[in-house]
Amino acid sequence: MHARFHTLDGVVKAVDGIDFEVYQGETLGLVGESGCGKSVTALSILQLLPCPPAEIQGRILFEGKNLLDLDQEDVRKIRGNDISMIFQEPMTSLNPVLRIGEQISEAAKIHKNMTRKEAWRWAVEMLRMVQIPGPGSRSRQYPHKFSGGMRQRAMIAMALCCNPRLILADEPTTALDVTIQAQIMTLMQGLKDDFKTAIVLITHDLGVIAEMASRVVVMYAGKVVEEAPIKELFKDPRHPYTQGLLGSIPVIGRKEQTGRRLQEIPGIVPSPLQTPLGCRFHPRCPKVMNRCCDQEPPMICLAEHRRVSCWLEA
């Protein structure tokens, strides 16, 4: 899939030819730094990007159907019903002037043809499911009476409302503090097992990925650089970028054990307006070779769901 933005400064290739699969009941982690195109990927799947300026090409297959071939009305029917999304910012993703119950029941009213009352009752059930105490009275409150964690729970309830088959979770825990993060993660894991929902978990927090995902796709500057089952990724990262990401996780007592300080990846993600020639990671890569600078590395398949795009493996 490709996603481009036509801007006054030129064509921004935010997502430049990525491919991955998600299976039923599976959690796929989508990792990368800020500005790698993770969120654009999620928004493209639901076609929530305004076109123009955005232009999405390629194929997005959902149960055999190419979502890009469908017209707006069909896509709207899929949104929230088959595929739903959990947003990053629970503080701003709820409408402050509508009651929580109203917002959760919206999807049920649209897709399940429920009446107002049924949908409301359903919303209360959903709130109970995401473990909000006193869901009956809480559903009648406005978002400003909810704490951050509770709002995120409400967002999850909204996403789960129609029992979708795929949830795109765009950094669902980034805005929350660590204890709430753990609660939300446990909750999502439990709900996933109950509903057999597939989750695409977009995050830059490798701790969260380790906890939740069974398989990981690492993105860099709009491309997939590595894909691996979770254990292998942590045990044996092949791409220097993945190694860099893993090296930048703080570990208490590492310096005493290994004598190394916390590592960082020097530099920043290149602007998608001017992607470097050759391998996109080469200006920041510690293992850069001559041909990295002018030739783009091929995607090398090491095993099933184990691939890496780096000249070191070629």
Binding site: L48, R76, R79, P96, V97, L98, A107, P143, M155
Partner: protein, 311 residues
């Protein structure tokens, strides 16, 4: 589980019944609004004046039995008496009665004009702001053209085309106000359109129309609530002044009255800018959330500001 219960119990007490000063706030929404209104004296005075104005217009036949237009030449140009508190005009008609009946027409025009403005302006502004692109361009260029004329001149030109009469006056003044509403609503929509919750609403598959009405208009309406400006609609056919100074004063009274009402109304909305924030009960307060607007406003709404000064 325990901590949640405790937390929710505490918020319940804190947010529903007691405000930050520790004052008890009534449970009922209406009485809470009344409590807020009572604190703001300017808003209260403005509200009472407005109410008196509206009620006197509504109950005009009770307050002034008889025909205010029927001439009674024997009593022409009388000084104020107990029977005629404001005296009579050159045709012997009661000036008080004519003021009371005149306010009916004023209000009718006010309501009519604002309705025309809203009915045409809000949908156009919503569509223009939400969809953008070519539709936006087309609507905005027409709006530009209309705004290029001074409002009063435009209304006069429209009257010249449509002809005189109450209905045509309402239509022409209303149309001349449409571009203002379009701009105002479009501005609000533009600021709300990019909010995450609008995207979230789209992500659950909400239709555009529902998004526009529920998620955008509800919010934007806090900013576009029009002041029922009495002074704007002082078109009163048939009220003429006599030669005498005193009589010249009284027919001017409704205008003065309207001005005071509208000034108080505007003051009421402007006053709270200077208000002490210790009275605030809602967690987030912004300019648009105060004055008469505040008791009327939504509990969770923070207005994005700049509602009134755009007029």
């Amino acid at each position: 589980m325990l901590s949640w219960t405790r937390e929710s119990a505490m918020t319940e007490i804190k947010e529903d019944n007691v405000c930050r000063t520790g004052e008890w706030v009534p449970e009922n929404r209406l009485s809470r609004s009344w409590a807020k209104l009572k604190r703001n004296k300017a808003a209260l005075v403005g509200g009472v004046l407005l109410l008196a104005y509206v009620l006197s217009a509504f109950f005009a036949p009770l307050l002034f039995p008889g025909n205010p237009s029927a001439p009674n030449l024997i009593n022409s140009l009388e000084t104020p008496t107990l029977k005629e508190p404001l005296g009579t005009d050159e045709l012997g008609r009661s000036i008080l009665g004519r003021i009371i009946y005149g306010s009916r027409i004023s209000l009718l025009i006010a309501v009519g004009v604002v309705s025309v403005g809203i009915i045409l302006g809000i949908p156009l502004g919503l569509v223009s702001g939400y969809y953008g692109g070519k539709i936006d361009f087309a609507i905005q260029r027409v709006t530009d053209t209309m705004l290029a004329f001074p409002g009063f001149l435009l209304a006069l030109a429209l009257v010249a085309v449509l002809g005189v009469g109450l209905k045509n006056t309402v239509i022409s003044i209303g149309i001349s106000m449409v571009p203002m509403y379009i701009r105002l609503v479009r501005g609000c929509v533009l600021s709300v359109r990019e909010e995450d919750y609008v995207e979230a609403a789209r992500a659950v598959g909400t239709r555009d129309l529902i998004i526009l009405v529920r998620h955008i208009l509800f919010w934007a309406s806090g900013c576009s609530r029009p002041p029922p400006n009495g002074g704007r609609c002082s078109v009163r056919p048939g009220l003429t002044c006599s030669m005498h100074h005193m009589w010249r004063l009284f027919p001017a009274l409704p205008s003065f009255w309207q001005c005071s009402v509208s000034t108080c109304w505007v003051t009421a909305c402007a006053m709270p800018w200077t208000r002490d924030s210790k009275y605030e009960c809602t967690p987030k307060t912004a300019p648009g959330n105060q004055g008469l607007a505040r008791p009327l406003s939504h509990p969770g709404r923070r207005c994005q500001g700049g509602g009134w000064d755009r007029f």
